[in-house]
């Protein structure tokens, strides 16, 4: 069986304040990089699994909504490799 992988990107929903992003953006300004008017932070997860069993997309979707992202404040996208 060959290995497959997927990368899950979790971001704050639009409109949700990202204090870390704001702080980074301010720091960039102080460093002389004033052109970056906004910074939003997020995180990604690399998932590895044995070749596709046909249900894998649904399974990935489940772990994203059950654990990796908090649907109240975050959204996620999945990139398959």
């Amino acid at each position: 069986m060959s290995k497959s992988s997927a990368t899950v990107y979790v971001r704050l929903k639009d409109g949700v304040l990202d204090p870390q992003g704001v702080t980074i953006q301010k720091a960039l300004g102080q460093m002389g990089y004033e052109e970056f008017s906004s910074v939003r932070t997020g995180r990604f997860f690399e998932l590895e699994f044995e070749a596709d069993n046909g249900e894998i997309e649904q399974r990935i979707d489940e772990v994203c909504s059950k654990l990796l992202a908090n649907p109240v404040i975050e959204k996620f996208t999945v990139e398959r490799k």
């Binding site: 949700v16 304040l17 204090p19 870390q20 702080t23 654990l67 990796l68 908090n70 109240v72 404040i73």
Partner: protein, 237 residues
């Protein structure tokens, strides 16, 4: 009546909660291990403060899948009385027992100090021993206490009277300067719609004896005891 205090790996206020109930309130209490599936006939379950599962991923996110939480969720959904303090509040929102989410403090710092809470409602299991509008002095100790929810959901919380505690100044006036984390509407503690689940960021168990700087936290434990002392109410859960 009997309290149960859950211990997750990384809980660090479980002993404080246990001591507050046993030695100050004088009620029966037992620890509930996270791997156990037995609430040991507790009338009230406390999810204590700390850093369950190292706060990995998000505060409270991993704890919701522990065996004890499966029972706590069933208990809460059948009307059982549950109190989540600090990390416990985060576990309750992650579990869906309370609405909203607790995000990083707006100033990004961990905040450990006394704050002032205005009691918004007294016809609740958790605040019946308080006076409406009364200001309680109770400490906080958290990095992720910034309560957030969509505007219409926050409005629903307010309309349903689910906001029990709000950060204020010592005189009970709301002010941005006295909100330690940037929470919406200065929210410090909420209950679920049914009123049997409380989540609050401040630590009432750390304000139960004079030597600790305040005894105001005891009012919350006394309120709960009052509730169970009423024969009609005790039978309900």
């Amino acid at each position: 009546m009997k309290f149960g205090v859950v211990t997750f790996p990384g809980s660090n206020c479980d002993f404080d909660a246990y001591a507050a109930v046993k030695h100050v309130l004088g009620e029966e209490v037992e620890f509930l291990w996270h791997k156990s599936s037995d609430l040991l006939n507790s009338d009230v379950v406390i999810l204590p403060g700390g850093f369950s599962y190292g706060d990995y991923l998000r505060s409270g996110a991993i704890a919701k899948f522990s065996p004890i939480m499966e029972k706590v969720i069933k208990f809460a959904n059948s009307g059982g009385c549950v109190i989540g303090i600090c990390n416990g509040f985060q576990v309750l929102t992650e579990s869906g027992l309370l609405p909203g989410a607790l995000m990083r403090n707006d100033h990004l710092r961990f905040s450990c100090k006394f704050v002032y809470l205005r009691v918004e409602k007294t016809d609740s299991i958790f605040t019946s021993a308080c006076k409406k509008g009364e200001v309680l002095k109770i400490p906080i100790a958290h990095g992720d206490g910034n309560f957030y929810h969509f505007d219409d959901e926050v409005k629903r919380l307010e309309d349903n009277g689910q906001v029990l505690f709000r950060y204020t100044d010592p005189n009970g006036n709301e002010s941005k300067d006295y909100n330690p984390n940037g929470s919406l509407h200065n929210i410090a503690g909420i209950c679920n719609r049914e009123g049997n689940v409380l989540g609050m960021m401040p630590h009432p168990e750390r304000a139960v004896e004079k030597i600790l700087g305040s005894v105001d936290g005891l009012r919350i434990f006394e309120s709960v005891r009052q509730h169970f002392a009423q024969p009609a109410a005790a039978g309900k859960s």
